[in-house]
């Protein structure tokens, strides 16, 4: 599983409004063009909703997307 503790640390203080639970680092799965990746994301312990941090979406994830697109 890929971990990005520094990025996740920036999302402390966010809570899931539906469940009232604080977001904690938790496992999530991302898929793209047939590949599946396990990553740690800020996640609601109750309903499982996650945030994909901006830093991740525009950084590592974009890189992987581009590799999978064979750019």
């Amino acid at each position: 599983m890929q971990r990005f503790p520094e990025i996740i640390a920036r999302y402390e203080g966010w809570t899931c409004q539906q469940c009232g639970k604080p977001l904690m680092p938790g496992k999530a799965q991302l898929t793209y063009m047939g590949s599946v990746f396990d990553v740690e994301l800020p996640k609601c312990a109750k309903c499982g909703m996650v945030i994909v941090p901006e830093e991740l979406a525009l950084g590592k994830m974009l890189e992987v997307e581009q590799v999978l697109e064979d750019k």
Binding site: Q17, I51, V52, K71
Partner: protein
């Protein structure tokens, strides 16, 4: 792409054809590379280049009669100056260097050939055959080896030079028999012992041997060197013309090829047309070449090393590259179209593994400048568009490339943006104004102003059609979608009674000419030329006129645009590339969508090569050029100066402004459609979608970032609406901000926002997106 299509494309690009010198050289010495090494002072490397094709380079390099020089591009009487002195350079090279024997041992073929004659021609045949692995028996009638070579003065061809080459030959599978008696009987037995015999006639002792052997020198086959009977070959007769060493070498070489083919049972004649001099298709422009005469020969011993370096540096390293010189996109991938065609073909054939040409295929602007400058009209855009549609069909088009543009197109043919109405006063429709998506998105106020002006000045009723022409579908490799869009346009046009169309955009013009040829189209500029100017029209100053790339083959449009500019009081000058050679603004072919960095390069070249300010007459060109900070105005700005936003009267160019981003354009089109329907055709407004009630507040930096990420206001509105109605959102206690996400299709959008006290107003702090899908949270 089929292999034969690839061959067709490859054939068009002549960049890999040999330069004139090499094609004319009977043995095709790579003169260009040789000269490059000589110019760099790398004499040993230059010698290796010679030795690669040249037999006995220490001899031939000194005495070659250099027919290549006659052909040298520099020596062309029409636009050149003086040919490179290739012969003198070769001489200088071989006197300064030594050819070491080749170290690669050739496996013996187990067969042998005989050569009669110790002249250059016979020695060449022996040299070539030995290098192919044959054992060679050379019969020299004289006591000394060399034939005609022995007649050269020592200053020109020192004895040691020949001796050195004979030493090299001694290390090959060659035996030389001097004082050999050669007559018909001997040749007969040689023919029996060996696979064949070559008679090199460039030896005084052999001057009459043909009489003995019963062939005429004139009747020797010019291609195979066949001399009238199987296995017998001959060449290099001493004729009255001055002895040509290179011709003698060629004859020996041709015979060696024939003997080799004979040994292999192959055809003696098939595909030999590139042996000996041939015509090359290479094109080389002398346009930017500075003229310079050849370096003079000062001493009797030829060029000194320094003189040779200088003379070699005059070689212009002939190549074509005409298209690469003018297209930053072609230059970026470090090759030329023939190479690119192969890469694209390979890319399309990949089943597993990396498709390395995707970015290249997606980034071409399809502007066609390459075809204009290419001697064979190679149109890289056509090739890329074919490749794109093939990728789409194979389901291999990366979703990120054209997705955004296609979503934009969807919107532009939806009821939110489309409008087709006859003249509001008369209901007649002899004409219809088609502003196009770009102008409607960039400056909707110009659409309205131009429409009013046309209506006031044209008879027969002027209607309006707001609808995409389909160009983005064609660019994205979606002929299916293009067909739908043009079909939908056609039916609107029919409903209006087939009006004559007035087009503000040359891309629409180009698309309609090709796909809806039954429609009569003229450009807005041609139409306006014959009408009175609107009140208050006019400007001043001097501008560089940028023709859109899609006007390339529309000279009437280009002429009208210039005439209008003149009428409006401004001075226009042409950029370096103009008219049929105009450059793309970086938007065409969806270059900007697929590869923003490439579009930036293209614009940067245009704006640094030419003085600002620019005058454009395509909304997209205006926006693209201004995106790089170049000062640009649109012809319509001069027609309607009172519509300028935030005019700066103090500036000499008060009409200059930067273009709207894609998100704004989207909004502008919807607004324009509703405004026109309401104000001109007195229609009730379309019911609003729920998400449209969400009002956004974005600081300028946020807006720029959102634009650059190609996130539409609509995407943000939908994400917020979704969060607000379902309650599925994250909350930050301290700041009171929310984060929400929404995945309408392939892309997931995120937004951090805070509700404002009044109504449905939300302040947006940031928005981002990704394509990876979160499993279970779709």
């Amino acid at each position: 792409m089929e292999q034969q299509d690839l061959r067709q494309w490859e054939w068009l690009c002549i960049q890999e054809e040999p330069p004139l010198c090499q094609a004319t050289c009977p043995i095709h010495v790579d003169v260009r590379l040789f000269a490059r090494h000589m110019a760099a002072g790398k004499v040993d490397d230059a010698r290796k280049v010679l030795a690669k094709t040249m037999p006995l380079s220490g001899v031939l390099g000194r005495i070659c009669d250099h027919p290549c020089e006659q052909a040298c591009r520099r020596g062309d009487p029409r636009d050149g100056d003086e040919a490179i002195r290739i012969g003198s350079l070769e001489r200088s090279c071989v006197t300064q260097s030594d050819a070491r024997p080749r170290s690669i041992p050739v496996p013996p073929k187990g067969k042998s050939a005989a050569v009669v004659g110790g002249g250059l021609s016979g020695l060449t045949a022996a040299w070539d055959l030995a290098r192919k692995g044959y054992a060679v028996h050379v019969l020299v009638p004289e006591s000394e080896i060399g034939g005609v070579l022995l007649a050269y003065p020592d200053k020109v061809l020192p004895k040691e030079a020949l001796v050195r080459e004979l030493e090299l030959m001694a290390s090959m599978r060659i035996t030389i028999e001097t004082n050999a008696s050669v007559d018909a009987e001997r040749v007969e037995s040689l023919l029996g012992e060996h696979l064949g015999v070559y008679i090199g006639l460039d030896s005084p002792a052999l001057i009459d041997i043909h009489l003995d052997l019963g062939f005429e020198p004139d009747a020797i086959d010019p291609l195979t060197r066949g001399a009238g009977r199987p296995g017998l070959f001959a060449g290099a007769p001493i004729v009255s013309a001055p002895f040509s060493p290179i011709r003698a070498a060629l004859h020996g070489r041709q015979a060696a090829v024939s003997l080799d083919r004979l040994a292999q049972g192959a055809s003696l004649t098939a595909s030999r047309d590139k042996e000996g001099p041939f015509e090359t298709r290479l094109y080389t422009s002398m346009h930017d070449v500075e003229h310079a005469r050849a370096v003079k020969l000062t001493g009797p011993d030829g060029y000194s090393p320094e003189e040779a370096r200088q003379e070699a540096a005059r070689c212009i390293q002939c190549e074509c590259m005409e298209c690469v010189k003018v297209c930053p996109y072609l230059a970026h991938f470090k090759g030329y179209p023939k190479k690119y065609a192969r890469e694209i073909y390979n890319n399309l054939s990949v089943i597993h593994g990396l498709r390395q040409a995707n970015t290249m295929i997606e980034s071409c602007s399809n502007c066609g400048l390459c075809a204009e400058v290419c001697p064979n009209d190679f149109h890289m855009g056509t090739l890329c568009l074919q490749a794109r549609s093939e990728m789409v069909q194979q389901d291999k088009m990366p979703p990120s490339a054209f997705d955004f543009a296609l979503r934009d197109l969807d919107f532009n043919v939806s009821h939110k943006a489309v409008l087709a109405r006859p003249d509001p006063d008369t209901g007649a429709c002899e004409w219809a104004f088609v502003p196009g998506c770009q102008l409607s998105g960039a400056t909707p106020e110009h659409v309205r102003a131009a429409y009013d002006h046309l209506r006031a000045n044209l008879d027969g009723g002027v209607g309006m059609i707001l609808h995409c022409c389909g160009a983005p579908a064609a660019w994205a490799g979606r002929p299916d979608l293009l067909a739908n869009v043009t079909e939908s346009f056609r039916s609107l046009w029919k409903e209006l009674g087939e009006p004559r169309l007035i087009l503000a955009c040359t891309t629409c013009l180009q698309t309609f000419r090709e796909h809806l040829p039954e429609m009569v189209c003229t450009s807005l500029w041609e139409t306006l030329e014959s009408l009175a100017l609107p009140q208050g029209a006019g400007g001043q100053g001097a501008y560089t006129l940028h023709d859109p790339c899609t006007s390339r083959h529309e000279p009437a449009v280009q002429v009208s645009a210039r005439a209008m500019a003149k009428r409006l009081g401004v001075i226009v000058r042409d950029p370096d590339l103009t008219g049929i050679y105009t450059e793309c603004c970086g938007f065409g072919g969806l270059m900007e969508a697929a590869n923003p960095g490439m579009a930036t390069k293209v614009v940067a070249q245009r704006t640094t090569d030419n003085p600002a300010p620019f005058l454009a007459y395509c909304a997209m060109c205006r926006d693209s050029l201004s995106r790089q900070g170049a000062k640009v105005i649109h012809l319509l700005d001069l027609l309607y100066p009172h519509l300028a936003r935030e005019p700066e009267p103090a500036s000499p160019y008060p009409l200059i402004r930067s273009g709207s981003g894609p998100a704004d354009k989207h909004e502008n089109r919807a607004r324009l459609r509703n405004q026109l329907a309401r104000e001109i055709w007195k229609e009730a407004p379309e019911p609003m979608d729920d998400f449209e009630r969400i009002q956004l507040v974005l600081e300028p930096e946020v807006r720029d970032a959102v634009d650059a990420r190609r996130i539409l206001a609509e995407d943000i509105q939908r994400a917020i609406l979704h969060a607000e109605t379902t309650g599925r959102r994250m909350r930050h206690e301290e700041s009171g901000h929310f984060i929400a996400c929404h995945q309408p299709a392939a892309v997931t959008y995120w937004v951090e926002y805070a509700p404002q006290p009044e109504g449905l107003v939300f302040r947006v702090y940031r928005a981002w997106s990704h394509r990876m899908v979160i499993k279970g949270v779709a």
